[in-house]
């Protein structure tokens, strides 16, 4: 790699579409979620900071990280906690470089393997949040999260494999995230595979990001916040940033791979960008509507629901592989 490439790669990982972009988009996503859930529940939602309260999530995180004191509890492994959260953020930022919106693109045949490897990091990082504390509530939260993820993560992986197989069947770079997103095409078979894998990926995303009805790992009423029970001040700020960056990342990937990104236009067009944003917002709206419409399910209910999600993704994979 020459110096200019290294600089471009560093810029992409740290600024756009990496760390800074993901954090800002994640917090804007949080604002949209809070506002829409508020409206759906006949509340106003964030209101005071910035126009329509859009800067409220930023103000919350700045307050938690810069103003609140650093507090720890006995038996908590603070450094491990911070290390894994930063590794999770690093993995998400790095994974964004596989997409066509990045100035420096990591691409090649079978790059979906490295992409999946990076996606798994964020799951591990989130589980470690609970496991790094000695509090029984957080550990129980983590064990519930791992139980849920035991079924959600395979569904996530299989559906992304099915989509990339179908989309890059005639490509010179098979199983490539970049090629799947950049050279999006549609046919009857691809539409069937994408529809099935989208349903599966969407539900697995909800389970992975602890959105209702799959939010039992952080149930406030019985686990006092579960995974996040012991976090406060700066660590809570970092956990919020990490969590919403992950939601934004998964929503972006869903928009690019399963919904075609700017299709029928191209990346870089003004119209393409508008279509992309509309699809992203619609996806979030769907996610939030589910969140506001349903109640929390128990772990075994969640697991027996998610096992059908795996079946859907396996059907998509068989369709993509055989035909």
């Amino acid at each position: 790699m020459v110096y200019s490439e290294i600089l471009l790669a560093t810029f992409s990982a740290l600024i756009y579409p990496g760390l800074l972009f993901l954090v800002v988009l994640g917090l804007l996503t949080q604002w949209y979620m809070r506002k829409l859930v508020g409206r759906l529940q006949n509340r106003i939602g964030p209101k005071y900071v910035g126009p329509l309260g859009i800067a409220q999530p930023f103000a919350d995180v700045i307050k938690l990280v810069f103003v609140k004191e650093k507090l720890s509890s006995k038996g908590r492994l603070d450094r491990l906690l911070i290390l894994f959260m930063t590794l999770g953020l690093g993995a998400l930022s790095s994974a964004m470089l596989f997409t066509p919106i990045s100035p420096y693109v990591i691409r090649g045949g079978y790059d979906v393997i490295a992409f999946i490897y990076l996606m798994i990091w964020s799951t591990i990082a989130f589980a470690v949040i609970g496991l790094s504390s000695s509090n029984p509530f957080t550990i129980a939260g983590s064990s519930r999260f791992l139980t849920q993820i035991l079924f959600a993560e395979p569904a996530l992986i299989i559906s992304i494999l099915a989509a990339t197989i179908a989309l890059t069947k005639n490509s010179t770079t098979p199983l490539s995230i970049y090629s799947s997103a950049a050279y999006f095409q549609i046919s009857a078979l691809i539409a069937a595979v994408l529809a099935l894998s989208f349903i599966s990926f969407f539900l697995a995303t909800i389970a992975k990001t602890l959105i209702k009805p799959f939010d039992i790992p952080e149930a406030e009423t019985e686990l006092a916040g579960g995974l996040l029970a012991e976090l406060s001040g700066p660590t809570l700020g970092l956990a919020i940033v990490f969590h919403y960056s992950e939601i934004a990342f998964l929503a972006l990937i869903t928009t690019m791979i399963f919904l075609g990104g700017p299709y029928p236009f191209n990346y870089g067009d003004a119209l393409g960008m508008a279509v992309f944003i509309v699809k992203y917002v619609l996806l979030l709206t769907l996610m939030i509507t589910v969140k506001a419409s349903v109640g929390r399910v128990r772990v075994e209910q969640a697991v027996s629901m998610i096992k059908y999600v795996i079946l859907t993704s396996v059907t998509a994979l068989i369709l993509a592989t055989v035909f």
Binding site: L87, S93, I106, N135, F137, L161, I165, T321
Partner: protein
């Protein structure tokens, strides 16, 4: 790029971002946390009650999967795979991944 090369580049960038985030966080929040130690938050329960159970037993993990649907499968999980170590869980997840990758390789070889 081949898979190895792009994995190395992606992992290096991941570590770079993680390192810079960690250092920025450490710079913002200087000083040890030992001055501000509190008891674990237990909703008013006595800490002494939990001294012997600060980690959840392996039977508690995956209980949802077992009681309802996959009790025999769970038995294998509990006895063979799940030992309470995060690595073992990660290993189990890798089996899923390898299965997916194998299927994709079969596809490529067929096409």
């Amino acid at each position: 790029m081949d898979v190895l090369e792009l994995t190395l580049i992606a992992s290096s960038l991941m570590l770079l971002v993680a390192l810079l985030t960690y250092l920025s966080y450490a710079a913002v929040k200087k000083g040890g946390s030992s001055q501000n130690l509190s008891e674990p938050y237990l909703c008013g329960e006595s800490v002494d009650d939990f001294k012997n159970s600060i980690s959840v037993g392996s039977t508690n993990l995956y209980w949802g999967a077992t009681s309802a649907i996959l009790s025999r499968f769970y038995k294998v999980l509990r006895d063979e795979i799940h030992t309470g170590v995060l690595n073992d869980w990660f290993f189990y997840m890798c089996i899923w991944l390898v299965l997916g990758v194998l299927l994709s390789f079969i596809t490529i070889s067929m096409s």
